[in-house]
């Protein structure tokens, strides 16, 4: 699914695993998106403010187990951030020992993310979901 508009949509991609970060970057770029990346929450917030991405794709578990949640929460609380889709990537095997999951409605509401995908991601599903959001936003 190639982006038909002239200006490619900008995606903020955050993952502390540099290999997975690169792979998802390549895959998103292959779908015609412009990708900005960060490896930790602090950089991610800086880049988010500077770049004003059209969507954010965040890994759930980073340095601290709840980093992905915290980041999603912070973006969604931002006046600009709440207008863009935020997608969380989760590792389905990692359930126990965590304070949060995204399996219950309460957790989803609290995190307020727009979608979540199990890793490894299927790029067609991810870009399909992103396009759905963009279509809804009418941009």
């Amino acid at each position: 699914m190639t982006n038909i508009q002239n200006k490619p949509k900008k995606i903020l991609l955050v993952d502390d695993d540099i290999d997975l970060l690169e792979q998802n970057k390549v895959l998103l770029e292959s779908k015609g998106y412009a990708v900005v990346t960060a490896e930790n929450v602090k950089d991610a917030l800086d880049i988010f403010k500077k770049e004003k991405p059209d969507a954010a794709v965040l890994d759930l578990i980073m340095e601290e187990h709840d980093s992905g949640f915290v980041l999603a929460h912070k973006i969604k609380r931002d006046s600009y951030g709440k207008t863009i889709p935020v997608v969380l990537l989760t590792s389905a095997t990692y359930i126990t020992g965590m304070k949060f999951g995204v399996s219950t409605k309460e957790e989803q509401e609290w995190i307020n993310c727009d979608a979540w995908f199990n890793k490894p991601i299927n790029i067609d599903e991810l870009s399909g979901k992103l396009e759905e959001f963009f279509d809804k936003q009418g941009i």
């Binding site: 502390d16 695993d17 540099i18 290999d19 997975l20 792979q23 998802n24 390549v26 895959l27 292959s30 490896e39 930790n40 980073m62 340095e63 590792s91 095997t93 990692y94 359930i95 126990t96 020992g97 890793k119 490894p120």
Partner: protein, 493 residues
């Protein structure tokens, strides 16, 4: 079996009769003693027990009836005969009333005497047998009572809870642990208990109570008495049966399984963590392969080579992790055979530094060592200690700055050999230090992003040190460096 010889005493002041009777009875296989007057008779027949006593009624000092009373007071089962020349009906009645078996009129014929003695002996045997049966029964009752108290004491001392209910659900027996486990105060024998027990327990009890047919099966349930695994019990209910097989009631054993459940939870948490740690590098490798193999992405040969190198690195890391996990599992299961030898810590530390020489040189790191003289040997497994020092000194290299320093000192302190390894590396924050020895914990920051590791190295170090009754201490200052101190008792092993 030798025939039993009845023991007889003859008390008579008439010498002829005394001696004559004695001879007669001895020839008939009796053991015979004689006394020539009442006083002597009393002394002898109360001093030891005789089967039979032939007592002359009229004696100058004490009469036969008195002698008999004295004897019976001490040995009530001695069969007494009153011999009298003045036999009258009244005397006979009087004598038997007072406890004589019968009276023998004087003079008596041998046959008459022997017949009477045999009858008396028969009576005595019956009495003795009855007595011994009675005694046996009393002893058994006593034993039973003792057994019951003992059983109660044992049941009350069991840490596990035990209770028994009958078919009506009434409490028949319970020990104090039951009250504790179910938080029941004032429960009593006969109380209908089904309603006040946790539902899950009542369910198990009812299954058995409602199953009248013969079934030799216990029912087990785990009950969470306090939420979040704070207090968990296991109840095991088994039928108690009448001899004909019908259910008489249920015996239930209640066990505190809180600790077991906690360990179980930690274990599954660990498994989940391991699965995650194994999955991540595999996912990275598959991700790279998918990109290389996808013709639409048109990756350049340079990029492909880069991805393959990175994949190899991830697989290498995966292999190291699996090896670490196997080591940990061997340590946990204690299947690893230790080869205890007297080892020199100096040699092991020097060997480890040599082993890491290439990496040390590459990073321009300077190693300073200081070994105290005459460090005692230590009984330990060479592989384990080498692993311990390789992990710590390896970290000092890995997390050091380029052109940094490592200081190693080996000395004794009390009963310990103390090895201190300090580096001028990236150090760590106090909050990271606290988690340092946990499995899979790795400090993630800008400094460490390009350093590979399994997150198991220090956890292995800790396990090895502790298995030798030693310990590991850490000091660290963020961005300045860390120091690891290993204490190993040299009496260990």
């Amino acid at each position: 079996m030798e025939e039993y010889k009845p023991r007889v005493i003859i008390v008579d002041d008439e010498k002829g009769l005394r001696v004559g009777t004695q001879r007669l009875l001895q020839s008939e296989n009796y053991i015979v003693d004689t006394a020539e007057n009442g006083t002597e008779g009393i002394r002898m027949a109360t001093g030891r027990e005789y089967d039979l006593a032939i007592l002359d009624l009229k004696m100058p000092d004490v009469d036969g009836i008195t002698v008999m009373k004295e004897i019976l007071a001490v040995f009530p089962n001695t069969v007494c005969f009153i011999a009298t020349a003045y036999a009258s009906f009244e005397t006979a009645i009087e004598a038997t009333k007072l406890g004589a078996f019968t009276y023998i009129p004087k003079p008596y014929t041998p046959d008459e005497l022997l017949r009477n003695l045999r009858a008396g002996m028969e009576k005595r045997m019956l009495v003795l047998e009855a007595e011994s049966l009675k005694r046996e029964r009393e002893e058994r009752m006593l034993e039973l009572a003792f057994e019951k108290t003992r059983l109660n004491l044992i049941i009350n001392s069991i840490a596990d809870g035990v209770f028994v209910i009958n078919r009506n659900g009434e409490l028949v027996l319970f020990n104090p642990a039951i009250a504790k486990y179910f938080e029941l105060n004032n429960i009593f024998i006969g109380e209908k208990i089904l309603g006040i027990l946790p539902e899950k327990v009542t369910e198990q009890l009812n299954i058995i109570l409602n199953k009248p047919e013969y079934e030799n099966k216990s029912y087990t349930a785990e009950v969470e008495m306090k939420p979040d695994r704070e207090f968990m019990i296991e109840v095991k209910c088994s039928p108690v049966r009448h001899p004909d097989g019908t259910v008489a009631g249920v015996v239930t054993v209640v066990r505190n399984i809180t600790e077991m459940k906690k360990v179980e939870f930690l274990k599954s948490q660990f498994v989940s963590m391991v699965a995650h740690e194994l999955k991540t590098p595999m996912a990275a490798v598959i991700g790279f392969l998918n990109i290389i193999l996808n013709p639409e992405l048109k990756t350049t040969p340079e990029k492909q080579a880069d991805y393959m190198n990175r994949s190899r690195g991830r697989l290498q890391g995966l292999l190291e992790m699996v090896n670490d996990l196997l080591d940990i599992s061997r340590m946990e299961m204690k299947t690893k055979q230790r080869e205890l030898k007297e080892l020199s810590i100096d040699d092991i530390v020097k060997g480890t530094v040599e082993f890491l020489e290439l990496e040390i040189k590459k990073r321009g790191i300077e190693v300073e060592s200081e070994y105290q003289e005459n460090i005692p040997g230590i009984m330990a497994d060479n592989n384990e200690l080498t692993r311990l020092y390789t992990n710590i000194i390896g970290n000092a290299v890995k997390y050091n700055k380029d052109n940094g320093k490592i200081r190693i000192s080996v000395r004794t302190q009390g009963n310990y050999i103390v090895t201190k390894i300090s580096d001028t590396g990236i150090g760590m924050k106090p909050e990271d230090k606290a988690k340092l020895f946990s499995e899979f914990f790795r400090i993630k920051n800008d400094y460490t992003r390009n350093i590979s590791g399994t997150g198991l190295g220090l956890s292995i170090v800790k396990r090895i040190a502790e298995s030798y009754s030693g310990k590991v201490e850490v000091e660290s200052e963020y961005t300045k460096g860390s120091a690891f101190t290993v204490y190993l008792p040299y009496t260990a092993g």
